[in-house]
Symmetry: C2
Subunit: 369 residues, 2 copies
């Protein structure tokens, strides 16, 4: 859910009018009445909710059908991966829409409070740590009981971005012994600060903007060989390696999973992007030679109250860049505004949008490219 | 699973012969081959596994049908609640069986290493803490992110026995703020030692042998009124109040659950005994006015590897009282042996067994009654 009553109330107080699709917050435990109490209007369906709207705020991109039904010239703020939403992009261009995507938020410190990728990755990482503990047939913590001592679980986290760090933190909270691996050597210090030991496989793939670059086939082979041994020693492997807008890299082959002991668990947070494990099926728990492979589908949706709360705060912070509250007059010289822009009045601004829609439109406004 | 390969190997080394029903350990991630490697025989089915056995070790009581198929004069070691297994008891008496039940283990310090109720409650309490975190639509830990701060979850644990203490420890590990409640005032210190705050409702029901006695209706009313307010403030309520061999007391009425916020969670560990919450359905997650009520069925079975490991250690420690390894010559003067005995050579020994089977048999041997 893209807004929560507490944030809606602040936005309304600042001068925005908010109209909500009935029932939109129910799954996240925010009843319509709470939004109404906050001063929002509740519309019976999506069509009447967007009718007359200047700005539509969603978590996921609108579908092509939803896009075609938007008011002429409306703006949209959501996650919006162009590659996955080409039809919607064309429909939005046809409506002369302006589209801002959280996927394109510049990774600068001023934008941190708007970083919905990070806030949702925080939720996902925590959920993955819990899922691992829930599926493992052993304790995470060491237990010394009168009947005997059980050792702590051995957890390997592959991919130490925001999500991986939260998985490390959650597994450590539960008492597991955690190893961490990332192709970016810079991840070592962060992983260690949370109590994990960092694996060195001799392959580094430090990328641009804090994300990992894709490895070459040779590098992947070396990485896999070094990792296979560690995977085989682990009770749990959590994989979090996603490259935005692309298919997730395969880090765990079937053979590596077969090297794990019966009862071991793989939690694949990149399942929605095709999975970091060859055996992953999105939204399912696959058993393979006694190992359970958990393909987490849309992990933040499993914890909707706080996922929505953080997303709504990100939204409110972006709205503060949109001009005086209640109007839509973005400062196009602001590198965050310009950077997030996919479409402006129906014209493609982001390179991926230009690729789909054609036309020679260039990025408008100042700031770094 | 009542035995694990590691413990089986030790028992075989000491002189026991062990025959395993094929596949019995598969769910707990102990393949038949691991038992075979430990020196055990693997029989294709239950009938051939028990054929010729002097002692049958199980987690749950044998069914009436299984009991009738045991060798004449065999012994059984398992959980064995007489009230739930009257038909099996009659069948076992008919076979002249000797039955030892973990439910009847004297609560003395020498018996701690044999205390399967405690070892399984440890697993259950940990599982309940995890289940609560998994079902709550919020974080357990406090999070301070760029998008805003989320407060820690408020968890109330009702019933501070072994299971309740593990639930407290698990919720605390995950960063929740935990309150604990028990009718036994003695539980206060233990709960506080794990970082929980203890609730005082002004009602105490300190019972015999460390268990709670049943409260009077008046006491229950006072307790409920004082608790209702705290329940309404909680994100999570975990209930663990079970009285061995009886229906679990109702601690949470539907009205109390209705006083909780949408998105709150109840985890009922006493679901198998009828539940501490009026709304509980065993093995199901019931949604009631936005609150999820998780009726945990056989909680240790969700973590079979370590649950089995601890149980097997309990079994091995009891077997040490059964005379020289490989023989069945219990020391009937040992209060643990005598205390655990339900049937001896088909004759009822425990009061509950006497009640079912009749006859004037008295408890044999020394030790405290």
């Amino acid at each position: 859910m893209a807004l929560v009553p507490e944030v809606a109330k602040k936005l309304i107080g600042a001068g925005w009018e908010i109209c909500l699709q009935a029932g939109a917050g129910t799954e996240a435990a925010f009843p319509d009445a709470a939004f109404a109490d906050a001063g929002a209007t509740v519309a019976p369906d999506a069509a009447s909710a967007v009718s007359g709207a200047g700005l539509v705020v969603k978590v996921n991109p609108p579908s092509a059908q939803e896009s075609a039904a938007l008011p002429q010239g409306a703006a949209v703020l959501s996650f919006f991966g162009v590659a996955q939403s080409e039809d919607a992009l064309r429909a939005l261009a046809g409506r002369g829409a302006t589209v801002f995507s959280f996927d394109l938020l510049p990774r600068i410190s001023r934008a941190q409070s708007m970083d919905a990728l990070s806030s949702q990755a925080t939720v996902s990482g925590y959920r993955a740590g819990l899922a691992a503990a829930d599926h493992l047939a052993k304790f995470f913590p060491m237990f010394m009981t009168a009947a005997g001592t059980v050792p702590p679980a051995k957890v390997l986290v592959m991919g130490v971005g925001v999500a991986g760090l939260q998985s490390i933190a959650t597994a450590r909270r539960l008492g597991a012994v955690v190893k961490a691996y990332d192709v970016r050597a810079a991840a070592k210090e962060e992983a260690e600060s949370l109590g994990a030991t960092f694996l060195d496989t001799g392959v580094s793939a430090e990328g641009i903007g804090g994300y990992a670059r894709e490895l070459t086939p040779e590098e992947l082979d070396r990485q896999r060989a070094a990792l296979a041994e560690e995977v085989g020693r682990s009770d749990v492997v959590i994989t979090t390696a996603a490259v935005p807008g692309r298919k997730a890299p395969v880090l765990l082959t079937a053979a590596m999973v077969e090297g794990m002991a019966p009862g071991a668990v793989v939690v694949d947070m990149a399942a929605d992007q095709g999975g970091n494990c060859e055996l992953t099926k999105v939204g399912e728990v696959v058993e393979h030679e006694g190992v359970h492979v958990v393909g987490m589908a849309n992990p933040p949706s499993g914890m909707p109250t706080h996922a929505s709360f953080l997303f709504a705060r990100n939204v409110a912070n972006v709205l503060a860049l949109m001009g005086p509250a209640g109007t839509l007059a973005p400062d196009w010289d602001d590198e965050i505004v310009a950077g997030m822009c996919v479409l402006r009045d129906g014209k493609p601004m982001a390179p991926a949008a230009v690729e789909v829609l054609g036309g020679g439109a260039a990025r408008i406004g100042g700031g770094e490219p």
